[in-house]
Symmetry: C2
Subunit: 357 residues, 2 copies
């Protein structure tokens, strides 16, 4: 176990930790940083971070370090942390336990509450395996308490940021759903296309940022249809040339709608290019092959898959299997073969996303 | 000027400052906290904080303390900070100046860059009036540099949060605008109603949080119309009973659309109650007087004002003056007299908001 001899050293480390932990608003990054700092600060084997869940009013685990399994839900039940957390919430005071407790299979531990405005808003528990045989002191407890409460605010900020982001995505989703709802045949379409695009991007090992953005692009890809009148949008028969032209404007109209407000090029391109074809015969710009963005290619397949598998005024939807075959058949003409390949992998590997099929 | 004798004291203060500054994601609060801490840390007369503007790539002032005027734009020109900031960006190094410079009318100053990943992302300048006659030391400069860069990350986080919030509002606005665009007579309606509701709320001295939410509620108040088909929405003649019933469902449909995704009661009530009347003769619930929420009452007036002043299929819009008279005439029947009074004040006091008139 590390020991800091001078208070000055501790303060210096705390400042450093505080800066490191605060340097992100990504809740996963902040969580990991706090756990790593807590673990290395006291040189312990395990550390787990809990946060107050607004709905259940319970402390729930949001990250753990040192365990073999990272299945947080299992960890809580197995290790009986609920009791310890309940004690923390009740007393609001940090605790250090060196003797073995029947409700806690690991060795010595320190548990500290994260406090904001006199309320317990989370907790941090560090512990050692039994065989380590170490004892924690009151000084250790005090140290962990100071550390935790220096960084608690970074955790809360990251949570706030995540909440805003979630609400944003949900708002866009609900507006997109409202647009789909005008036409009984496209009910839930944007949401499904978004989920499919995420699945394909995951199969392509895209970055988290890419996936976040393609989720939004999927939700918004048909937003340009908002400006098209019902009699064209839900027409029962074949569309005439004028109507076809009107419909084919929707990627451009959609781009115009979001362009001023969303500066993310990925989202813009995803909307504009989701009807382009690999062979250059698509619209609105007739882009070909490499000229089409990755996001445009992904949404094109997700969009087609959903169109094929749902009923339309003029035909019934086909089965998932038939739709996949149809898309594979169009690899090299309508679609980029590389993305089609990822699409196939995503179908077999992520069955829960395909819940609408 | 305060002097800290022990490094330990300084570290302790830095930790405290760091926690205080980080405890908010509101950019104004964070700015104020940084300025206050910088000013009291070195007991200086003036402090100004600058941040890198993404568009212009210039350091622009976002807050100042100690000056008589808080007109930040004027301050920059008057005091010639641009040159100092240009030097900071060029060298990336803090500077302390005790002699009088021709381009800087105040006395001694310290200017430190805020740095992230080797890039200058802002600056902090503290200075004393000439008559104070104090000299700054290299130790002071070092102290301010440490302080600034400990809190720079809090400033960046707050900026990130603000950007996300702005993008959120702009996205909702663009979708609302797209909904309005289906009907040529309601073009820009939601945006104007939102601006009017903000003006009325300001006249009522509502909180910043209230105003932020009513802005969104105004943008979303007609979102329920998205589910109403064109032939009803844009009908040229009088509506029959069925069509009237359909139209009158829009506050409830709108509530349903956003209810699952937006948990803010203010926004929900604003949408649901914007067609309620003070005398209980409104829809959908026939609420009366105090039973109607403040937000519902505000949006009702903003909505009516915009309807009156714009052309409709069946009549031409009236002048702003006539519309105000009409609304005042309905105080006590259709509208809450208190809100009508605030509305009148907002018309005369905030002419720039009424730009559409």
């Amino acid at each position: 176990m590390k020991r800091y001899r001078h208070e000055k050293d501790i303060l210096q480390v705390l400042l450093e930790v505080s800066r490191k932990v605060s340097s992100s608003l990504d809740i996963d990054q902040v969580t990991r940083a706090i756990l790593q700092q807590a673990k290395s600060f006291l040189a312990t084997d395990y550390s787990t971070l809990f946060i107050l869940d607004d709905r259940s009013r319970q402390l729930i685990p949001i990250g753990a370090l040192g365990f073999k399994s990272n299945q947080l839900e299992n960890l809580t039940i197995l290790l009986g942390w609920e009791k310890i957390n309940a004690e923390l919430v009740k007393t609001g005071r940090a605790m250090v336990v060196n003797e073995t407790r029947s409700d806690f299979p690991l060795g010595a531990f320190i548990a500290v509450p994260l406090i904001k405005k006199n309320k317990v808003i989370g907790s941090l528990i560090v512990c050692n395996s039994k065989k380590a045989g170490t004892r924690f002191t009151d000084a250790d407890k005090h140290l962990l308490y100071t550390l935790s409460n220096q960084v608690a605010v970074a955790l809360l900020n990251a949570q706030l940021y995540k909440n805003l982001k979630d609400q944003y995505v949900r708002t866009v989703a609900s507006l997109a759903a409202a647009i789909d709802a005008r036409d009984p045949y496209t009910h839930g379409h944007s949401e499904r296309v978004s989920a499919y695009a995420v699945a394909i991007s995951t199969a392509l090992s895209c970055t988290v940022r890419f996936i976040e953005n393609i989720k939004l692009a999927g939700l918004l890809h048909d937003v340009g249809k908002i400006g098209i009148r019902d009699n064209v949008l839900s027409k029962d028969g074949a569309l005439n040339d004028d109507e076809l032209k009107k419909i084919r404007e929707h990627p451009v109209i959609g781009t115009r709608i979001v362009h001023e407000v969303i500066s993310t090029p990925l989202i813009i391109r995803g909307i504009r290019e989701h009807h382009e074809r690999f062979d250059g015969k698509g619209y609105p710009h007739g882009l070909k092959g490499k000229k089409i963005s990755l996001e445009g290619k992904i949404i094109a397949i997700a969009d087609t898959y959903d169109s094929l598998t749902t009923d339309r005024p003029y035909r019934r939807g086909v089965s998932a299997k038939e739709a996949v075959m149809e898309i594979v058949h169009c690899a090299g003409t309508q679609f980029d073969p590389v993305i089609v390949h990822a699409f196939e992998r995503s179908v077999s590997r992520m069955p829960d996303v395909w819940r609408f099929v």
